[in-house]
């Protein structure tokens, strides 16, 4: 029996989450997902069956995002309101403040650090997978992750590490 066609639809929620972590605005994030789906489908013949379809789509999304940022000279960090969560309202107000602050802090990271923090921390990819998606060496993943996490820690006021510097 032929292997069942992996359905891209079930990957959409994860693509949306990654896009939303990369770009502050929910509509722009969905634009990115839509472009990614269109690009992915048009290049479906290049995807090697048996390899991780999600990683492949993430690579496409990453490249699109880099190109968009370059073309539009839009720094996602500068979006006024982090509209990271359309619709639903969580129960407690305190929770909202806390959750927003970590996401707001994430947006203040340089793009290259943010991508690594998200791929490893949220998408639970290995350093190797993250390196492949971003087309950088594993050592670079590690140094960006170390800088990104430390910066996030400072931004969320969890206390500085001795010797750590920040603006």
């Amino acid at each position: 029996m032929a292997q069942p066609e992996p359905d891209i639809v079930v990957l959409i929620p994860r693509l949306r989450r990654y896009a939303r972590a990369l770009t502050a605005n929910a509509d722009l994030a969905d634009d990115l997902v839509q472009d990614c789906l269109a690009r992915g489908l048009s290049k479906m013949h290049l995807w090697r069956r048996g390899t991780d379809l999600r990683a492949w789509l993430f690579t496409i999304m990453h490249n699109l995002n880099v190109n968009n940022a370059r073309r539009n000279r839009i720094r996602p960090d500068n979006q006024a309101e982090p509209d990271w969560r359309s619709g639903s309202q969580p129960a407690g107000q305190d929770e909202v403040v806390e959750l927003r602050s970590i996401v707001t802090a994430l947006r203040q990271l340089p793009e290259e650090q943010r991508a690594v923090v998200v791929l490893v921390g949220i998408e639970e990819m290995s350093y190797r997978e993250a390196a492949d998606i971003l087309a950088i060496p594993v050592g670079t993943v590690m140094s960006r992750l170390a800088r990104g996490r430390e910066r996030l820690r400072q931004l969320t006021g969890q206390g500085d590490r001795r010797g750590a510097t920040g603006p």
Partner: protein, 258 residues
């Protein structure tokens, strides 16, 4: 490479992410155990990792926008082009014969309000997302039906039934818990001998009780028939012809009210 006694921030991160090579691990663990700064860094990074996941996790539960589903339509199975043409042909036929079954429908179809449409659309998206799933179509399988129904009843706060659709050729696969707009929803999945799947989406919402009447929407190829029964909303979705969904919806309705 780093000198053996030096533990870097990269090592601390690798420890947090479970990426330390075995030969380095003992050394780093010993360093963390002996160094309170390192230990608090590990704790902070772990908390940060978890906080980020918690913050972004709700996005996974949001209904997938229709435009993104539409963007994947080209990719869906090759027979779909054929199916679309066939559906168009059937529609032409249905214009002739359709009046018949509409007339037979005593509870006449009513145009849905925006609020009701939203409910139907969420049922369609839940169908889109889970019906094609090969490995994990349901959270609890039909083998454990008593537990499935008891669990979903408890979470929705009402006594649910998993209707029996065997007379129409569909067997229960199982079910899962999902978020609706303001409350939990349950999804029961059924499959026929040809592997076609339909889903019954159920939620409780005492905010808007309307008259019991079948409403319809169509998202892509998915027909959704939905109705309210007291405080409980039901939506039956599937890539079938409307008259087939209608026949199944009647079966569901009769069993719930029987």
């Amino acid at each position: 490479m780093t000198a053996p006694e030096l533990v870097t921030s990269e090592d601390i991160n690798a420890y947090v992410d479970g990426e330390l090579p075995d030969e380095r691990r003992a050394e780093v663990v010993a360093w963390i155990a002996a160094n309170s700064d390192a230990a608090s860094t590990v704790a902070a990074y772990r908390a940060q990792r978890q906080a980020l996941k918690d913050a972004l996790e709700p996005i996974l539960r949001e209904p997938v926008p229709a435009r993104l589903l539409a963007a994947t339509q080209r990719q869906r199975r090759p027979f779909q082009n054929w199916a679309r043409q066939a559906a168009a042909a059937v529609l032409l036929l249905a214009i002739g014969s359709g009046a018949g079954w509409y007339a037979a429908n005593q509870r006449r179809p009513v145009a849905p309000t925006a609020e009701e449409r939203g409910f139907g659309e969420r049922a369609a998206v839940a169908h889109f997302v889970y019906a094609p799933e090969v490995r994990h179509p349901v959270e609890v399988t039909a083998d454990d039906q008593a537990h499935l129904v008891a669990w979903l009843s408890k979470r929705l706060g009402t006594k649910l039934k998993a209707p029996v659709l065997v007379p129409a050729g569909f067997e229960l696969v199982g079910g899962r818990l999902l978020p609706d707009a303001h409350s939990p929803a349950a999804q029961f999945m059924y499959q026929d001998a040809q592997g076609r799947r339909i889903t019954l989406y159920v939620r409780v919402d005492d905010a808007h009780i309307s008259e019991t009447a079948f409403r319809w929407i169509k998202e892509g190829q998915v027909e959704v028939c939905f109705w309210m029964d007291g405080t409980v909303g039901y939506a039956l979705a599937g890539e079938l012809e409307r008259k087939d969904i209608y026949r199944l919806a009647k079966l569901v309705y009769q069993q719930i009210n029987g």
